[in-house]
Protein backbone atom coordinates (compact mmCIF):
# COMPACT_ATOMS: atom_id res chain seq x y z
CA UNK A 1 0.00 0.00 0.00
CA UNK A 2 1.17 3.46 -0.93
CA UNK A 3 1.13 5.77 2.13
CA UNK A 4 1.51 9.56 2.04
CA UNK A 5 1.95 11.96 4.96
CA UNK A 6 1.61 15.75 4.92
CA UNK A 7 2.01 18.69 7.30
CA UNK A 8 2.96 17.83 10.86
CA UNK A 9 1.93 14.20 10.29
CA UNK A 10 4.83 14.07 7.84
CA UNK A 11 7.32 15.90 10.06
CA UNK A 12 6.46 13.75 13.10
CA UNK A 13 6.69 10.48 11.19
CA UNK A 14 9.81 11.77 9.48
CA UNK A 15 9.01 10.77 5.91
CA UNK A 16 6.51 11.95 3.32
CA UNK A 17 5.85 8.67 1.56
CA UNK A 18 6.37 4.97 1.97
CA UNK A 19 5.14 1.68 0.54
CA UNK A 20 4.13 -0.90 3.13
CA UNK A 21 2.94 -4.47 3.01
CA UNK A 22 -0.06 -4.59 5.37
CA UNK A 23 -1.15 -7.61 7.47
CA UNK A 24 -4.22 -9.17 5.81
CA UNK A 25 -6.59 -8.26 8.68
CA UNK A 26 -6.24 -4.52 8.09
CA UNK A 27 -9.25 -3.60 6.02
CA UNK A 28 -10.16 -0.07 7.11
CA UNK A 29 -8.46 3.23 7.90
CA UNK A 30 -8.92 2.92 11.64
CA UNK A 31 -7.08 -0.41 11.87
CA UNK A 32 -4.37 0.91 9.51
CA UNK A 33 -3.80 3.85 11.85
CA UNK A 34 -3.65 1.58 14.92
CA UNK A 35 -1.16 -0.66 13.14
CA UNK A 36 0.98 2.30 12.10
CA UNK A 37 1.12 3.52 15.71
CA UNK A 38 2.98 0.30 16.63
CA UNK A 39 5.75 1.17 14.18
CA UNK A 40 7.53 3.72 16.35
CA UNK A 41 7.41 6.87 18.45
CA UNK A 42 7.09 9.20 15.45
CA UNK A 43 4.00 7.38 14.21
CA UNK A 44 2.49 7.29 17.69
CA UNK A 45 3.07 10.98 18.18
CA UNK A 46 1.72 11.85 14.75
CA UNK A 47 -1.44 9.76 15.02
CA UNK A 48 -2.18 10.08 18.71
CA UNK A 49 -5.19 12.42 18.44
CA UNK A 50 -7.51 11.09 15.76
CA UNK A 51 -9.78 14.14 15.94
CA UNK A 52 -7.11 16.12 14.08
CA UNK A 53 -6.24 13.44 11.53
CA UNK A 54 -7.75 13.70 8.05
CA UNK A 55 -7.65 10.83 5.56
CA UNK A 56 -7.81 10.58 1.79
CA UNK A 57 -8.06 7.28 -0.06
CA UNK A 58 -7.10 7.52 -3.72
CA UNK A 59 -7.22 11.31 -3.35
CA UNK A 60 -10.77 11.42 -2.04
CA UNK A 61 -11.58 12.48 1.53
CA UNK A 62 -12.95 9.60 3.62
CA UNK A 63 -13.95 8.87 7.22
CA UNK A 64 -11.88 6.79 9.62
CA UNK A 65 -14.11 3.78 9.11
CA UNK A 66 -13.63 3.75 5.32
CA UNK A 67 -12.47 0.47 3.83
CA UNK A 68 -9.07 0.18 2.19
CA UNK A 69 -7.53 -2.33 -0.21
CA UNK A 70 -3.86 -3.21 -0.92
CA UNK A 71 -3.60 -1.19 -4.15
CA UNK A 72 -4.92 2.04 -2.58
CA UNK A 73 -3.07 5.31 -2.12
CA UNK A 74 -3.80 6.37 1.46
CA UNK A 75 -2.85 9.83 2.73
CA UNK A 76 -2.88 10.95 6.37
CA UNK A 77 -2.63 14.62 7.25
CA UNK A 78 -3.75 17.41 9.62
CA UNK A 79 -6.75 19.65 8.89
CA UNK A 80 -6.00 21.66 5.76
CA UNK A 81 -4.91 25.28 5.92
CA UNK A 82 -5.00 26.55 2.35
CA UNK A 83 -5.96 29.91 0.97
Amino acid sequence: MQLLYFGWVRTRIGIGRETLELPPDIADVKSLVEWLKQRGDGYREALEDLTVIRVAVNQEMVDLDAEIAPGDEVALFPPMTGG
Binding site: F6, A56, Q59, A75, P78, M80, G82, G83
Partner: protein, 153 residues
Protein backbone atom coordinates in the same frame (compact mmCIF):
# COMPACT_ATOMS: atom_id res chain seq x y z
CA UNK B 1 -9.73 27.08 -14.63
CA UNK B 2 -7.43 25.76 -11.92
CA UNK B 3 -3.72 26.44 -11.62
CA UNK B 4 -1.48 25.12 -8.85
CA UNK B 5 1.98 26.55 -9.28
CA UNK B 6 5.18 27.57 -7.54
CA UNK B 7 5.73 30.81 -9.45
CA UNK B 8 4.05 34.15 -8.83
CA UNK B 9 1.17 35.48 -10.95
CA UNK B 10 0.24 38.95 -12.17
CA UNK B 11 -3.19 40.00 -10.95
CA UNK B 12 -3.80 42.43 -13.82
CA UNK B 13 -2.94 39.89 -16.52
CA UNK B 14 -5.07 37.21 -14.92
CA UNK B 15 -8.12 39.40 -14.47
CA UNK B 16 -7.78 40.88 -17.96
CA UNK B 17 -8.01 37.36 -19.39
CA UNK B 18 -11.45 37.01 -17.78
CA UNK B 19 -12.96 40.18 -19.18
CA UNK B 20 -11.04 41.48 -22.20
CA UNK B 21 -13.10 41.42 -25.36
CA UNK B 22 -16.18 40.10 -23.54
CA UNK B 23 -19.43 42.00 -23.60
CA UNK B 24 -21.56 39.63 -21.57
CA UNK B 25 -19.78 40.09 -18.23
CA UNK B 26 -21.60 42.38 -15.83
CA UNK B 27 -19.39 41.81 -12.82
CA UNK B 28 -15.97 40.49 -11.92
CA UNK B 29 -15.34 39.44 -8.33
CA UNK B 30 -11.87 38.72 -7.09
CA UNK B 31 -9.99 37.86 -3.93
CA UNK B 32 -6.24 37.69 -3.46
CA UNK B 33 -4.68 36.23 -0.33
CA UNK B 34 -1.21 37.40 0.69
CA UNK B 35 1.40 36.41 3.26
CA UNK B 36 1.26 38.66 6.33
CA UNK B 37 4.34 39.48 8.32
CA UNK B 38 2.68 38.72 11.65
CA UNK B 39 1.10 35.57 13.07
CA UNK B 40 0.14 35.13 16.72
CA UNK B 41 2.11 38.28 17.59
CA UNK B 42 5.25 36.88 16.05
CA UNK B 43 7.20 38.31 13.14
CA UNK B 44 7.07 35.84 10.25
CA UNK B 45 10.14 35.53 8.04
CA UNK B 46 8.70 33.03 5.58
CA UNK B 47 5.82 30.68 4.94
CA UNK B 48 6.17 27.39 3.12
CA UNK B 49 3.11 25.86 1.50
CA UNK B 50 3.03 22.13 1.13
CA UNK B 51 0.32 20.44 -0.92
CA UNK B 52 -0.81 17.05 -2.21
CA UNK B 53 -0.14 17.09 -5.96
CA UNK B 54 -2.95 15.45 -7.88
CA UNK B 55 -5.48 15.65 -5.08
CA UNK B 56 -5.12 19.44 -4.90
CA UNK B 57 -6.18 19.88 -8.50
CA UNK B 58 -9.07 17.42 -8.07
CA UNK B 59 -10.35 19.19 -4.96
CA UNK B 60 -10.12 22.63 -6.55
CA UNK B 61 -11.96 21.37 -9.61
CA UNK B 62 -14.67 19.93 -7.40
CA UNK B 63 -14.99 23.28 -5.59
CA UNK B 64 -15.19 25.12 -8.91
CA UNK B 65 -17.92 22.71 -10.06
CA UNK B 66 -19.84 23.37 -6.84
CA UNK B 67 -19.68 27.11 -7.43
CA UNK B 68 -20.85 26.73 -11.03
CA UNK B 69 -23.70 24.62 -9.80
CA UNK B 70 -24.86 27.28 -7.41
CA UNK B 71 -24.31 30.53 -9.34
CA UNK B 72 -24.65 31.46 -13.02
CA UNK B 73 -20.95 31.97 -13.70
CA UNK B 74 -19.08 32.62 -16.89
CA UNK B 75 -15.40 32.17 -15.97
CA UNK B 76 -13.88 30.84 -12.77
CA UNK B 77 -10.17 31.16 -12.09
CA UNK B 78 -8.35 29.73 -9.08
CA UNK B 79 -4.58 30.08 -8.83
CA UNK B 80 -2.92 28.65 -5.72
CA UNK B 81 0.80 28.77 -5.11
CA UNK B 82 2.96 26.36 -3.13
CA UNK B 83 6.58 26.44 -1.97
CA UNK B 84 8.43 29.08 -0.01
CA UNK B 85 6.85 32.54 0.20
CA UNK B 86 7.75 35.72 2.04
CA UNK B 87 5.61 38.41 3.69
CA UNK B 88 3.86 40.45 0.99
CA UNK B 89 3.88 37.56 -1.49
CA UNK B 90 0.67 36.50 -3.18
CA UNK B 91 -0.61 33.04 -2.16
CA UNK B 92 -3.94 32.60 -3.90
CA UNK B 93 -6.25 34.29 -6.37
CA UNK B 94 -9.90 33.46 -6.94
CA UNK B 95 -11.91 35.32 -9.54
CA UNK B 96 -15.30 34.82 -11.11
CA UNK B 97 -17.29 36.58 -13.79
CA UNK B 98 -21.03 36.66 -14.22
CA UNK B 99 -23.75 38.73 -15.80
CA UNK B 100 -24.76 39.60 -12.23
CA UNK B 101 -22.70 41.17 -9.46
CA UNK B 102 -24.29 39.12 -6.69
CA UNK B 103 -23.21 35.87 -8.34
CA UNK B 104 -19.65 37.10 -8.91
CA UNK B 105 -19.18 38.36 -5.36
CA UNK B 106 -20.85 35.51 -3.53
CA UNK B 107 -19.12 32.81 -5.54
CA UNK B 108 -15.71 34.37 -4.85
CA UNK B 109 -16.48 34.38 -1.17
CA UNK B 110 -17.60 30.77 -1.36
CA UNK B 111 -14.51 29.66 -3.31
CA UNK B 112 -12.03 31.14 -0.86
CA UNK B 113 -13.98 29.87 2.17
CA UNK B 114 -14.11 26.36 0.79
CA UNK B 115 -10.58 26.07 -0.45
CA UNK B 116 -9.32 27.21 2.98
CA UNK B 117 -10.60 24.04 4.59
CA UNK B 118 -11.06 21.59 1.69
CA UNK B 119 -8.00 21.97 -0.53
CA UNK B 120 -5.01 19.92 0.67
CA UNK B 121 -2.54 22.67 1.55
CA UNK B 122 -0.59 23.06 4.78
CA UNK B 123 1.31 26.11 5.89
CA UNK B 124 4.60 26.09 7.75
CA UNK B 125 5.56 29.44 9.23
CA UNK B 126 9.13 30.37 10.08
CA UNK B 127 9.95 33.01 12.68
CA UNK B 128 12.88 33.82 14.96
CA UNK B 129 11.72 31.17 17.38
CA UNK B 130 11.65 28.43 14.76
CA UNK B 131 9.18 26.76 12.43
CA UNK B 132 5.59 25.87 13.22
CA UNK B 133 2.65 24.46 11.32
CA UNK B 134 -0.33 26.78 11.05
CA UNK B 135 -3.27 25.31 12.97
CA UNK B 136 -6.69 25.09 11.36
CA UNK B 137 -9.03 27.75 12.69
CA UNK B 138 -12.56 27.05 13.89
CA UNK B 139 -13.61 30.31 12.26
CA UNK B 140 -12.54 28.95 8.87
CA UNK B 141 -14.62 25.82 9.34
CA UNK B 142 -17.61 27.90 10.31
CA UNK B 143 -17.11 30.14 7.29
CA UNK B 144 -17.03 27.09 5.01
CA UNK B 145 -20.02 25.49 6.71
CA UNK B 146 -22.29 28.46 6.30
CA UNK B 147 -22.38 27.78 2.54
CA UNK B 148 -23.64 24.25 3.15
CA UNK B 149 -26.92 25.35 4.66
CA UNK B 150 -29.48 25.37 1.89
CA UNK B 151 -29.90 29.09 1.60
CA UNK B 152 -32.03 30.50 -1.17
CA UNK B 153 -29.82 31.89 -3.92
Amino acid sequence: MIRVQEQDFDIGTELASLTDGKTTVGGLGCFVGLVRDMANDEQISSMTLEHYPGMTEKQLEAIEAKARDRWPLQDVLIIHRYGRLEPGDRIVLVATTSAHREAALESCHFLIDWLKTKAPFWKLEASETGESWVAARDADNEAADRWSADRPK
